[in-house]
Amino acid sequence: MRTMKLTGQVVALAAVAGLLGLLIWRLTHQSKPPKIGGPAPAFSLKRVDTSGTLDLASLRGKPVVLNFWASWCVPCKGEATMLEQASREYRSQGVVFLGVDFHDVTGDARKFLEHHGVTYPTVQDGSGAVADRYGVSAVPETYFIDRRGRLVGEHILGTVVHAKDAFRRGVEAALAS
């Protein structure tokens, strides 16, 4: 009887320890939005515009404009043309525009790219895991990454059409370092 009681106590303690462990793991693994000046969260995602994957690390050494969007997002439609024009404008200076299609159906995303004539690379974050690491709360959102892979400028919440100055400053900050 004493052994059974002891076994019960050990099982109960193990269960509590397990739950406590889960809680600690969850608290320590919660995604925190990256800081400006800090490293841009790494990712490797499937491309939407073509086959294969694209690793952010492969763009190290180039300034990157990272734009999170979705085909179902109305403001994203409004900024698509401006982003495409800007990508052409800054291409000669080595700036890479990278679209991240967020929580979207692949077919819809491809139609969107075709409809808006987007020519820069676009990857798909279907589960939203990468957007989560960047602290994206809604689309569109735009980040600027410098040649050393650090986030620079100010991250633009909402369409870049209404934040043209911040957008230009962001690209220049990415180019400057």
Binding site: A70, W72, H103, V105, T106, G126, S127, G128, A129
Partner: protein
């Protein structure tokens, strides 16, 4: 007259054909899948969401239903696109099995603990047998008495 009737029938068939195109299996429905698929931006099932993302996913599901895709096929495609989190219920395989079995295991363990507790409690309520043990001499004498009675 016959020509006109023929033309009407041909037109009716042309329009009715695609809509009534039979699938090799029973066609699933949007309302069936809406309760099993999550809206990734609002974290509710599609039938409880009116977000733009939910509406696009519903449109995708309806298109695939029209193309005779089965519910499992559609769910697999959604998982490939959005990850396993798109499903309201976790899949019955791998690590996700824990989500199904842990609650059942917990219930079973709870039932066992409860049973054990009730058993112990009922034993504690029973009066103890305080009869002193019978020694060999007394037992022998009792046997003799009983034998005489026979």
């Amino acid at each position: 007259m016959i020509l006109r009737a023929g033309a009407v029938v041909a037109l009716a068939l042309a329009f009715a054909g695609p809509a009534a195109a039979a699938c090799a299996h029973p066609r699933t429905s949007l309302s069936y899948l809406e309760g099993q698929v999550m809206c990734p931006t609002c974290h509710t099932t599609l039938d409880q969401s009116d977000s733009a993302a939910a509406r696009r996913i519903e449109a995708f599901i309806q298109t695939r239903i029209d193309q005779c895709a089965t519910a499992d096929q559609i769910k697999s495609e959604l998982v490939a696109n959005f990850g396993a989190g798109i499903l309201a219920a976790p899949p019955h395989k791998g690590f996700d099995l824990l989500a199904w079995w842990l609650p059942l295991g917990g219930l079973a363990a709870g039932a066992l603990l409860l049973g054990f507790g009730v058993w112990r409690w009922s034993r504690a309520q029973m009066p103890e047998d305080r009869t002193p043990p019978v020694d060999d001499e007394t037992e022998r004498r009792l046997d003799e008495l009983l034998a005489r009675l026979d």
